[in-house]
Symmetry: C2
């Protein structure tokens, strides 16, 4: 059955959405059936992956505590890419968070209750893009997930602080609520070999984390990512031989090898 992977880092701008969309696209090109869940009310992943149709049913309906009629199949839409599907988000979902907080702890299992069975039975991979915090939406994602990937911006010390908090947070959720949850590995993104800061941060990460907890694949800093974002495409669709595209395809193969047989 399929795996559910959450992309998490409290620090903003480290490449969570870029990783979710491009890793998902790369896995789909490897012949896997992939679902992306846009759990961030910023809706950045939705803006990249949505097709031309307006989704009638989104994450808003799934997370609305008073909505019980929703069939999950109606919330899953195709994208421009083969074998890649999306649960859209809308900015209004942010207004649901206070209601989820008032209904805690029961509300924290809502995402899991509504999508997990359908996702693991119909998709090889489900990738959840999360907002830049460790709040209610992220907790819902972690209750629903099997694995967590933490992206880490190579040039940013703040993102290493975010990484440590994220790993500790995953441990807490695993102990208290979701014993299946595992921190998979951390992913070093925006690597610019010329920058001395990147070398310093990467060596800090390698000192702090055992080697098997860091993906071999690192994602280079590459302006094709921003150009792809401007044209509402994944970098793989925008320029498949760009260094960024090659890196995410390599990451997809590294994950497939890692999870083989699980």
């Amino acid at each position: 059955s399929g795996h559910i992977i959450s992309i998490v880092n409290h620090k903003g701008g480290v490449g969570k959405t870029t990783t979710a969309c491009n890793l998902a696209h790369a896995l789909a090109r490897e012949g896997k059936r992939v679902l992306v869940v846009d759990m961030d009310p910023q809706c950045n992943a939705t803006s990249i992956l949505r097709g031309d149709i307006e989704a009638r049913c989104t994450l808003y309906e799934i997370l609305d505590p008073e909505e019980n009629e929703i069939s999950i199949e109606n919330c899953i839409y195709g994208t421009a890419y083969n074998d890649l599907y999306l649960i859209h988000n809308i900015p209004e979902t942010a207004t649901i968070e206070p209601r989820l907080i008032r209904l805690m702890p029961n509300s924290l299992t809502l995402l899991k209750a509504k999508i997990r069975n359908y996702a693991v039975n119909n998709f090889d991979f489900t990738i959840i893009d999360n907002p830049p915090n460790l709040g209610t939406f992220v907790i819902c994602s972690l209750y629903c997930s099997d694995f967590v990937i933490v992206p880490n911006e190579a040039g940013s010390r703040y993102s290493v602080d975010g990484l440590i908090k994220a790993v500790n947070f995953v441990d807490d959720v695993q102990k208290d609520n979701n014993p299946n949850l595992r921190f998979l590995k951390l992913l070093i993104t925006k690597v610019d070999r010329r920058m001395s800061v990147c070398k310093a941060i990467i060596s800090q990460i390698r000192r702090y984390f055992p080697i098997e907890k860091v993906f071999d694949t690192m994602i280079p800093s590459n302006t094709e990512f921003q150009k792809a974002e401007l044209s509402f495409k994944t970098v793989i669709a925008y320029k498949s031989n760009a260094s960024g595209s090659i890196a995410y395809q390599k990451l997809a193969r590294e994950i497939l090898a890692l999870l083989k047989g699980q």
Copy 2:
């Protein structure tokens, strides 16, 4: 009396903390008395500006709805920089948010009630660094503020989406709750002239926003920012003649000219 400026953008990683710390340092070097409030539970601004002492009283005590004995003077600490003061934050402040939500709308005026009078009477400028969302902490900041600056990453279309949401949000708060609140201007950050995406984004911003709503000063992309962050310093302290330092000092002078006589 002094001005209170909030730095806001839902999008993560656009340079909110970098702007808050460096603009504050630049204003202090212009002879102004400046207070930074770290409203983000990531505590990135605190990690840059804190002196050697552990703060006994932080934002946690200020925002705790059950705490009424706090005297604001005890929460204001000096930094390594002359005329620059800080209200520290700690990660535990994030746990207060559910309580603030349950006590809404009264809780939204907590920050204003506890710090505004002291801040405007004792500091020329108070700069509030905010988390990457438009949630409860940001609303508290906007209720307390006179002006809002929205940083915008030149290479990121997502950050333009964040900009538009932030400006609309400020309008709502101004109409409903804080008639004094004004969107000051947007600040274009991480400008790399070689990148075609930056040119495309900047021209998109200039089409969408009237020229008087965009700071003349733009902040260049400069690795000295990341090196400074790694040594827990503002870029002005790390290398005062770096292009990034010069830009924030120019921004400080542009703001002083703009607010002269207000």
